[in-house]
């Protein structure tokens, strides 16, 4: 098996995990490595909750750094916070909270087999995420134009590091939701099979939740 | 065989007591466990595949026993550790302060009377000392095994060590926080002097006496001593190996290329200038990290070092 074959197979298996071919496919259906649907559903949810816990701990490190340096340099945090754009931040907060609502509706809708509604809601969620990203882009470039970069001072380092890592999560969320949406169009999900949408939704709620903490800590303390 | 370094501070006996205490506990535990391991292996060796064994699953008495005894031992060890640590971290009222600055890879000491030394710390015996330490660059750690004291040194805050030396002598000082290439050469000496000797060191008469005796040894020999005692050794090799700074081997008379493109031969004046103003003429390929030795070496000492370099062919 050549290098190219292996590479393409890796890419395929990541892009289409459900079509992935286990080593045993020559001998039997791969159903043997699957478990009963109830167990799979519960397990996927438990696994996702554990993963969300790790995400919280990841941001926990940033929050800890925030707490330590805010106690050490209160004035720097006051001034820095005042320089952030509260209006844009508020708009972004509203957008994210709204997108959390739409993704929740999507999860509910798939359980009732209302596929059209699912599509609409996922579209809205992804568009909200995109608007959030555009706003953030303007916010960042405005800061850069004023000569403020990561490393300008500790406050801005925290600001860029935490909103940057959060932004990364928004992008990952968009990709996840996009893949889900594509599969909805392919008719992969129904009220019997909605686990993926449910845990994708959980992930999006986390992205929202973290922002709800970041917003007041960074924008409103000034 | 000796397993503890010599003990030369008021803190050392307390540490040694803990080391002995835990060693005794450890040896007894190891002997007990080792003995039982071997004894069980011999006594209960498998005789046949049909050996009958009792299905014992637990024993509340034994389990309580080996929960309670280690707990008690742990509490005792903690308390000893705490008591002596408390003593160590409490600064005596009459402590004399000395400022310590660590830098890759040199210790420098500033005394209240304005004196400054490199890599050599002078303290009077039986006098509580408080070191106020900071670093110019990365983390370092001040460690004198004979005093059993150690403390990291960093750039953003002062850290402190208290000690009272109890025995006259010269003791090793190590850097114990990894700090790069010459970490293991960031060494120093602590000179514990009698009150009288310390006084004469302080007013400079000891220096003069030392100079007088130095006058009796050939300059190249003196230069060799200064090479290790003033910290040159950390960056400059004498065997041709490239280090943080250029090697001294074959240095004298060699053409030096500088970062600004100019060049010069390494003669007496160049070397003297490089010792006093190291940043002036930077040789290509080296970073400007050398501290100035202005005020730390007098002219005769610099001459001695130059003479020493001349011998390194």
């Amino acid at each position: 098996m050549g290098f190219f074959d292996v590479t393409s197979k890796i890419i395929k298996s990541i892009a289409y995990p459900s079509e992935m071919v286990p080593s045993i496919d020559d001998h039997a259906d791969d159903g043997e490595h699957h478990f009963d649907p109830v167990t799979e559903h519960e397990s996927a949810k438990l696994g996702m909750w554990l993963f969300l816990a790790t995400e919280l701990l990841l941001f926990g490190g940033l929050f800890a750094a925030y707490a330590i340096y805010r106690a050490k340099y209160p004035e720097m945090f006051m001034d820095g916070s005042k320089s952030l754009d509260v209006v844009l931040g508020t708009v972004n907060t509203v957008i994210l909270i709204f997108s959390s609502l739409t993704v929740a509706v999507a999860v509910k809708a798939i359980q009732e087999n209302r596929i059209k509604l699912v599509k609409l809601m996922l579209w809205i969620t992804i568009i909200c995420a995109a608007i959030f990203a555009v706003n953030k882009y303007f916010e960042y470039t405005y800061k850069f134009s004023k000569g403020i970069f990561p490393g300008t001072d500790i406050f801005y380092s925290i600001y860029f590091a935490s909103t940057g890592v959060h932004m990364l999560h928004v992008f990952i969320g968009m990709i996840v939701l996009g893949i889900l949406l594509r599969k909805v169009y392919k008719g992969k999900y129904s009220k019997e099979n909605f686990t993926a949408i449910e845990i994708g939704g959980l992930y999006w709620h986390l992205v929202d939740l973290i922002w709800i903490y970041l917003f007041p800590l960074l924008y409103l303390v000034g | 065989m000796n397993w503890l370094p010599q003990s030369a501070s008021t803190f050392a006996p307390g540490v040694d007591l803990i080391l002995w205490l835990v060693t005794i506990i450890s040896v007894l535990s190891c002997v007990l466990i080792g003995f039982l391991l071997v004894y069980f292996c011999v006594k209960y060796k498998r005789k046949s595949d049909n050996d009958q064994t009792p299905a014992i699953t637990h024993d509340s008495f034994l389990e309580t026993l080996w929960t309670v005894i280690p707990t008690i031992l742990c509490i005792v060890i903690f308390l000893y550790g705490y008591i002596y640590y408390d003593e160590y971290t409490t600064t005596p009222k009459n402590a004399v302060e000395i400022n310590v600055t660590a830098k890759q890879w040199i210790w420098s000491f500033d005394y209240s009377n304005g004196k400054k030394t490199l890599n050599e710390l002078y303290v009077p015996v039986n006098q509580p000392i408080r070191l106020v330490m900071q670093s110019d660059d990365v983390l370092h750690s001040f460690f004198v095994p004979a005093f059993r004291v150690k403390q990291d040194v960093m750039g953003n805050r002062y850290t402190y060590i208290n000690f009272t030396a109890t025995k006259e002598g010269v003791y090793d000082l190590y850097c114990t926080e990894y700090c790069g290439t010459a970490h293991s050469d960031m060494l120093g000496k602590v000179h514990v002097l009698s009150k009288a000797k310390f006084a004469s060191w302080e007013d400079g008469s000891a220096d003069k006496a030392l100079k007088a005796s130095a006058a009796n040894i050939p300059p190249a020999e003196l230069g060799k001593q200064l090479y290790s005692s003033k910290g040159c050794v950390a960056c400059h090799s004498i065997d041709g190996a490239d280090g943080v700074g250029p090697t001294w081997k074959g240095l004298f008379g060699k053409k030096r290329l500088f970062v600004d493109g100019s060049s010069a031969a390494a003669d007496e004046n160049y070397i003297k200038e490089s010792i006093l103003y190291p940043g002036e003429k930077m040789v290509e390929g080296y970073a400007p990290v050398m501290p100035s030795y202005k005020g730390l070496l007098d002219d005769s000492e610099i001459t001695a070092i130059i003479e020493y370099i001349k011998t390194l062919k």
Partner: protein, 531 residues
């Protein structure tokens, strides 16, 4: 019997792709085993060079800078590529489903992805060797910010490896919650699974913190964020707090699976139930939980406040007690047993003894006043290696021998394996015992150069590496040359579930998911309660 299960997992599919794209937990476990074995060998070679360098003070074979690279390479590879993923990912993957009566882990594909992520992280790590870091495996700032070495790539590699660790942990936890066979109640769960459960919890809860720490370190080098750089108003001690908040629990990620292995082997070769099953199981969890609260004991001389140091010292002693309990429970499992000194049992007994030394020397370091003297000396190096080699690696070797028939379907030459054991045991002690003495005498660690008075001890230590090296080679040679003939399904007459099937197991482990009716380690004859 299903058609597929007629073939054992090793024969079911040939060639690279049948392994690289498998979702079979046993094959994935075996692939981890190969991978960690390779990194173990590379890292071990680095350590042999480090020791060889110490034959004489000053330069023996390499320069100071190369020496600094070598010990960084040794430490970071051993920690992040061998010992953290090590036992849990290899034997954990292979054994957990077999032990709980499941046909696979709950997320088989995720399991394969975890392995790929591990390989990706390892690959980045290897690329980073082009300009290898010289920071030590702890990456202390500000040195790691200022050094010219390739710190970014190596930390990125470790960051990626962290994902593998987290996903494996999640997989194992959910597997043990959801896939236990009927009747496999928590109090019948084999102790290896308990240990793996505790390990997984640590992996899931601690790894993200080192993830963000290393990410910030990368940001520090790219953007000059300044969190950990005193020159920019940051605090290097905060980096140490963040780093050890992961890396102390990581110590237990390394040792807990090995403890689980010992708990499996002791009953089999003593033919007795494990003594104090509940105590060992709960001790695993207790150790895991307390291990989150003791990170500060790595920082007693870092400039923490006195009160903080005292608190960390107290909690450190609290973690010593459950560890002591385990040691005595293993010991007492042998009492009145029928003991067979197989190679696996010898490694287990050596584990108990060496781990005891490792644990006891931890008592020195937990005592505040004594730690001031011993911190960052060879005493710490010796202590850590008694726990990591005497503990984890000996446990790992015990597992290699013990489950050898199950994994490969063949037997190995016990006699030669025992010779290898003797060499490794003696060599190990010759290497590391002198380091305790050097440490108390004040020999600092990470020292390229040293004072002449330490030379004889350094030389003894170096000679030891030659003995242990010979032992490693012999062990590898023995294990690579299995005896002819097929191994029986249950060569040790074990009552554990993983021995109830053929060796090696079929692809789907059990023809039918078993129902568990008996307690675990059900050896010996019931004795009447003393009345």
């Amino acid at each position: 019997m299903s058609e597929v299960n007629e073939k054992n997992y090793l024969e079911n599919g040939e060639g690279f792709a049948s392994w690289f794209f498998t979702v079979d937990h046993k094959r994935i476990g075996v692939m981890y085993l190969w991978a960690i074995a390779v990194f173990f060998i590379i890292a071990a070679i680095a350590s042999f060079l480090v020791r060889f360098e110490h034959l004489t003070p000053g330069q023996t074979i390499v320069s100071a800078d190369t020496y600094n690279v070598l010990f960084t390479l040794h430490g970071s590879m051993m920690v992040f590529l061998f010992i953290v993923p090590g036992v849990a990912a290899s034997f954990g993957n292979f054994l957990i489903p077999l032990m709980i009566g499941a046909k696979d882990v709950i997320f088989p594909k995720l399991n394969l992805y975890s392995f790929w992520i591990y390989l990706a992280g390892a690959a980045i790590f290897m690329i980073a060797l082009a300009g290898p870091a010289d920071t030590g495996w702890t990456f202390y700032t500000p040195y790691s910010i200022e050094t010219g070495a390739n710190v970014i790539l190596i930390t990125l590699g470790i960051f990626v490896l962290g994902f593998s660790s987290i996903l494996t942990g999640i997989n194992f936890i959910v597997t043990m919650h959801k896939l236990r066979a009927p009747g496999m109640t928590w109090d019948r769960l084999p102790l290896f699974c308990w240990a793996a459960y505790a390990t997984s919890l640590l992996q899931v809860l601690a790894t993200p913190v080192v993830g963000i720490t290393l990410l910030l370190l990368i940001g520090e080098r790219y953007f000059g964020l300044g969190f950990f750089d005193p020159a920019r108003g940051g605090d290097p001690v905060m980096f140490q707090h963040f780093f050890w908040f992961y890396s102390h629990p990581a110590v237990y990620i390394m040792i807990l699976p090995a403890m689980g292995i010992i708990s499996e082997i002791m009953p089999v070769f003593s033919r007795k139930p494990i003594f104090g099953y509940k105590a060992i199981a709960y001790a695993s969890l207790a150790i895991a939980l307390i291990s989150f609260l003791v990170w500060g004991h790595h920082m007693f001389v870092s400039g923490q406040s006195k009160l903080v140091n005292i608190i960390f010292s107290v909690i450190t002693y609290a973690v010593a007690v459950p560890t002591a309990i385990k040691v005595f429970n293993w010991l007492w499992t042998m009492h009145k047993g029928s003991i067979e000194l197989s190679t696996a049992m010898l490694y287990s007994l050596a584990f108990i003894f060496l781990f005891t030394i490792g644990g006891l020397t931890g008592l020195f370091l937990g005592a505040l006043a004594a730690d001031v003297h011993l911190h960052d000396t060879y005493f710490v190096v010796a202590h850590m290696h008694y726990v990591m080699i005497g503990g984890t690696v000996f446990g790992f070797f015990a597992a290699l021998h013990f489950w050898y028939p199950k994994m490969w379907g063949r037997m190995f030459d016990e006699f030669k394996a025992k010779i290898a054991f003797v060499l490794i045991f003696i060599g190990f002690n010759v290497v590391f015992f002198p380091q305790f003495i050097m440490g108390t005498l004040g020999m600092p660690r990470r020292y390229f150069n040293y004072a002449p008075e330490f030379q004889s001890l350094h030389q003894i230590s170096t000679y030891g590496t030659w003995i242990i090296g010979a032992g490693f080679i012999l062990m590898l040679w023995v294990l690579m040359r299995p005896l002819p003939g097929k191994a029986p399904g249950n060569p040790y007459r074990s009552v554990s579930l993983e021995w109830s099937m053929d060796s090696p197991p079929g692809t789907f482990n059990f023809d039918e998911i078993p129902t568990i009716t008996e307690p675990v380690y059900n050896y010996g004859t019931k004795v009447e309660e003393e009345s």
